[in-house]
């Protein structure tokens, strides 16, 4: 029996268990559903607002971009917060004390956050498809683009969350380390309005991060060709999208295991006890 693949199998089951426990938790489901529902409500209110320079309505243009933002948020803040929590409460230490337990734990985290992302996509896309008829413009070709952009986006962003979760000092700090920078990225990445309206240097900054490219990729999947006029250079730039997301994925996937190992090495009962005392002080 190969012990590593055995541990990965245990991790897959662990991720599924965590996911199904989360599904059954009212608290979790409210926090999963709230953003998609607010989004749909807002877009429904804006359903008759035309987008300048095209024949499209706002919901159709905004939806792919908002999907991209939700995916990035889920895949970065999700693992970052969870890892920080699991370090504090001893979940990770417990895993480390079992043979190949850390491998199983990380596998479980990947499964859990990937499934959470799928869930968020379903929650927002199913009603949107019915209410706005938002995803049909490109047919099968569009769904294929959707699949590779989301897949590559997952690989590009989840390692960032895992790395952040390994280096944040504690779970409370994930707000400043992950949440706030992402809010800033949402503002400049063409999620809420076309990026071409921003100063050029801001556009350059935005194009260094995966959020812009994930948004661009999803717009290319679901918007008719004419909508490309809203984009930088008037093009969907699929090659650049693949290259930038691929570069983030390669960098993240090569760094994350090293950072994780370093972090896991530092896990000890004393560290958990210290975290517990700190949390007690904060009165959580």
């Amino acid at each position: 029996m190969n012990v590593m693949s055995h541990a990965v199998r245990i991790g897959l089951a662990r991720g599924w268990t965590d996911f199904s426990l989360s599904i059954r938790s009212v608290q979790d489901q409210i926090s999963t559903a709230i953003m998609p529902l607010v989004t749909i409500g807002y877009l429904y209110y804006q359903r008759d607002v035309p987008v300048e320079g095209t024949t499209l309505m706002l919901p159709a243009v905004a939806l792919p971009s908002i999907l991209a933002a939700l995916i990035v948020f889920g895949l970065v803040t999700g693992p970052a917060f969870q890892l920080a929590m699991d370090r504090e409460d001893g979940t990770l230490l417990r895993a480390k004390c079992a043979p190949h337990g850390t491998t199983g734990y990380v596998t479980g985290q990947i499964v859990l956050h990937a499934l959470n992302t799928v869930l968020v996509l379903v929650v927002i896309m199913v009603p949107s498809a019915i209410v706005f008829d938002a995803f049909g413009a490109r047919g099968a070709h569009g769904w294929l683009a959707f699949a590779w952009v989301v897949g590559l986006g997952l690989l590009a962003t989840m390692p960032i969350g895992i790395i952040l979760g390994s280096v944040v000092p504690n779970s409370r700090a994930t707000v400043t380390w992950a949440f706030l920078p992402l809010m800033a990225l949402v503002a400049i990445s063409g999620i809420l309005f076309p990026i071409t309206r921003l100063w050029e240097w801001v556009q350059v900054v935005a194009q260094m991060f995966p959020m812009y490219w994930l948004g661009l990729g999803l717009r290319s999947a679901f918007l008719p060709a004419e909508a490309a006029v809203l984009e930088i250079g008037g093009s969907w730039r699929p090659l650049e999208t693949a290259l930038v997301l691929g570069a983030w994925a390669a960098a993240g996937l090569s760094m994350a295991p090293r950072v994780l190992r370093r972090m896991a090495r530092r896990q000890s009962g004393a560290a958990v006890a210290q975290a517990r005392d700190e949390v007690a002080q904060w009165g959580q």
Binding site: M1, V3, H6, L93, R94, C97, P99, A270, V272
Partner: protein, 315 residues
């Protein structure tokens, strides 16, 4: 200090620590700590808070590096030992809110699966989750969410998880910290039962002498980063060599004498031919008194000096 077990057979040695030193900055938390633990022993690392117990046990668990010294646990250096070594050890953690939504049965089965590849004919791995839950008295809570468990129940689940891999060596760090007297008593019974019938070597840390005495066959007293005594409770009292008080009445006069060898003294007293000795009383200092005096001596520093001044002033 090699202690009384240095003559034990070499192949039965589970833990061997030589000159272990741990330094944080300019501060030595452990100074040249040496001790051994043999197969089947239950050993308590006893000391006040801040003595270095947790640091020491975490070095042995392989959860923490060390500044100097040699450590061999189950034939390997824990600092570099791999996952196969990990499979032979059990660590009882102090959980507080991890896996809150899981049930004890789910968690035990999940952790147990990691040990499946390490099952041997002599040691079936993992242990059966249901039997383990019964052994720690959690049958009724087996399918309740872990967050509904009391502190004592949680600690028993921690023990079950530490045992699920059928470890050759089990570590418990301050296992009863935060438990009420009832929970503490239940926990003691559990560890006692374990050490009586199991083929598991146990190393535990505690700051409670009564707990060490109750659970361990041998006590290592750690104070200010040094092992200052090593032996069974009785041996400890003897090793430390506190003088016993002998009191008696002879011809209506009270006498008292402090001696390291009260038996010889009393024999001489009674065989000296004088039969006027009455009200003979030999009082050995309790282990508690011995322990506190010993720790005070090693940790005292300035405190000790002021005490000495006090003594002088009184006399």
């Amino acid at each position: 200090m090699t202690g009384p077990t240095s003559s034990a057979r070499e192949n039965g040695r589970v833990i061997e620590a030589r000159d272990v030193r741990m330094r944080y900055g300019a501060n030595d938390v452990l100074h040249d700590v040496c001790f051994n633990v043999d197969q089947g022993e239950v050993v308590a690392l006893l000391g006040p808070n801040g003595a270095g117990k947790t640091t020491m046990i975490e070095i042995l668990e392989g959860l923490r590096g060390r500044s100097a010294g040699e450590v061999v646990v189950l034939g390997e250096d824990p600092a570099t030992a791999g996952e196969d070594w990990r499979a032979r050890t059990g660590v009882v953690l102090q959980s507080w809110r991890d896996h809150a939504r899981w049930t004890p049965r789910m968690l035990l089965a999940h952790i147990g699966r990691y040990y499946e590849p390490y099952s041997t004919r002599e040691r079936r791995r993992p242990r059966d989750a249901d039997k383990l839950l019964a052994a720690v008295g959690l049958e009724e809570k087996a399918d309740q969410k872990i967050r509904t468990l009391s502190g004592g129940q949680r600690r028993r689940l921690d023990v079950a998880i530490g045992l699920v891999g059928h470890p050759e060596l089990l570590f418990l760090d301050e296992p009863t910290a935060g438990l009420d007297p009832h929970g503490r008593r239940e926990f003691h019974d559990l560890v006692k039962a374990l050490s009586d019938r199991e083929d598991t070597t146990i190393l535990l840390t505690t700051h409670d002498l009564a707990e060490a005495e109750r659970l361990a066959g041998r006590i290592l007293v750690l104070a200010a980063g040094r092992i200052i005594a090593n032996g069974s409770a009785e041996e400890l009292a003897r090793q430390i060599g506190r003088e016993a008080q002998v009191r008696w009445r002879q011809d209506g006069v009270e006498h008292a004498r402090a001696t390291r060898d009260p038996t010889s003294f009393v024999r001489d007293l009674l065989t000296s031919g004088d039969d006027g000795v009455t009200d003979l009383e030999v009082r050995r200092p309790s282990l508690e008194e011995t322990y506190l005096a010993l720790v005070h001596e090693h940790e005292g520093g300035h405190e000790l000096k002021s005490d000495a001044l006090f003594e002088e002033a009184r006399t």
